[in-house]
Symmetry: C2
Subunit: 187 residues, 2 copies
DNA sequence: CAGGTAAAAGCTAAGAGTTTGCTTTAGCTC
DNA sequence: GAGCTAAAGCAAACTCTTAGCTTTTACCTG
């Protein structure tokens, strides 16, 4: 077996780097396995054997790029932290390239867990925000509540209705968590 | 130009039928354009010229299969109508084949509108339920509210966290629309 | 630290899918 | 029913994918 740091790891890193470089140079839709393999200095059969097909490889790379690289900012209150996070999330994810990454991540083997990893990233970020609020002594909702009421609607709109999305929508969703005024439905 | 009912329409119908038949026979993952073209009695280049690639074709067919074929059932109250609809929606969409259709629909040209069409189907169904409730004299939430609070969370879980989904979750989401007890967040 | 071992990569050729220019057909319009 | 145009058929060139076999690499034992 080849351990981390060995040849396997170098090949994987090289192929991932080749995907990132080439998708910037020629565009995501023009990528082919032979092209990526050549840039990475490996043979196409290596890529096919390790990833199966182009989709699976793109899915892998997409998940890496969707991993947050910063801790959510501290704006003093739970509400402002969530609002800022939701606005940034929407901003990053609703761009054409952001949507492409999400779609690629969803495209991989459903049992491979790439999609689940994306969701986990968001949940971790939310958890950081909620924990910080709890330390301040604020009442906090469950992570699941924020996922259902903010993340899920944002992601749904990004995937299914990409038009007419703006930061105001993200703010309204966060407000909905704090506002118990009702939905207009009688019980 | 060839109008509806002409050769174009026949080819489209034949190719769609071929996709449905073959995906039942050999499985969605084994489909190829030449295989579909042969079953439909057309040449592969016809398929490539009309749809561009296999993904686009599968996306088209998936949207058709995601179109609801019945009106939401009437159970006497808004709450029971929504609950029944959400449970059925979850049941149909969370199956392996349901998830595959959703993924295929999302995969097509983002500007082609296939994803938006799926969302519109759900919105139409919700609208029927809400209109019926309004006629009964019940207070009703906006369609958007139901999309955000029920459809989006269901779809998010189906796509990103397919494990651990059950009818109880769907019921809780519907309850959340009627229950203004709060989320645990202080304002 | 030399030799053995197993996993992973390289190589190559056969097979399958995709693209494209040109020709033919179908259906509309006058 | 003759002309016209969009779409389909055809066929060849091209690219991608797959698979069997060989070679390399890194780890591990003696």
């Amino acid at each position: 077996m080849v351990r981390p740091g060995g040849r396997s790891a170098r090949v994987q890193a090289g192929v991932h780097a080749a995907v990132r470089e080439l998708s910037a140079e020629v565009g995501r839709d023009a990528l082919t396995v032979p092209m990526i393999a050549q840039r990475a200095g490996v043979t196409p059969s290596t890529v096919y054997r390790r990833w199966g097909d182009l989709q699976e490889l793109l899915s892998d790379v997409a998940v890496e790029r969707l991993r947050p690289d910063t801790t959510p900012g501290d704006h003093g209150t739970l509400r402002s932290d969530l609002t800022a996070w939701a606005e940034q999330f929407l901003d990053e994810m609703s761009s054409p390239s952001g949507r492409a990454y999400i779609r690629d991540a969803l495209l991989g083997d459903p049992d491979g867990g790439n999609a689940g990893r994306c969701s986990a990233y968001a949940a971790e970020q939310i958890d950081v925000i909620l924990s910080r609020a709890a330390e301040r002594g604020e009442e906090t909702p469950a992570v699941e509540t924020v996922m259902d009421r903010v993340v899920a609607p944002l992601m749904y709109r990004i995937l299914f209705r990409p038009d007419g999305l703006d930061a105001e929508y993200a703010r309204q969703l966060v407000t909905g968590i704090f506002d118990n005024a009702g939905t207009g439905a009688a019980d």
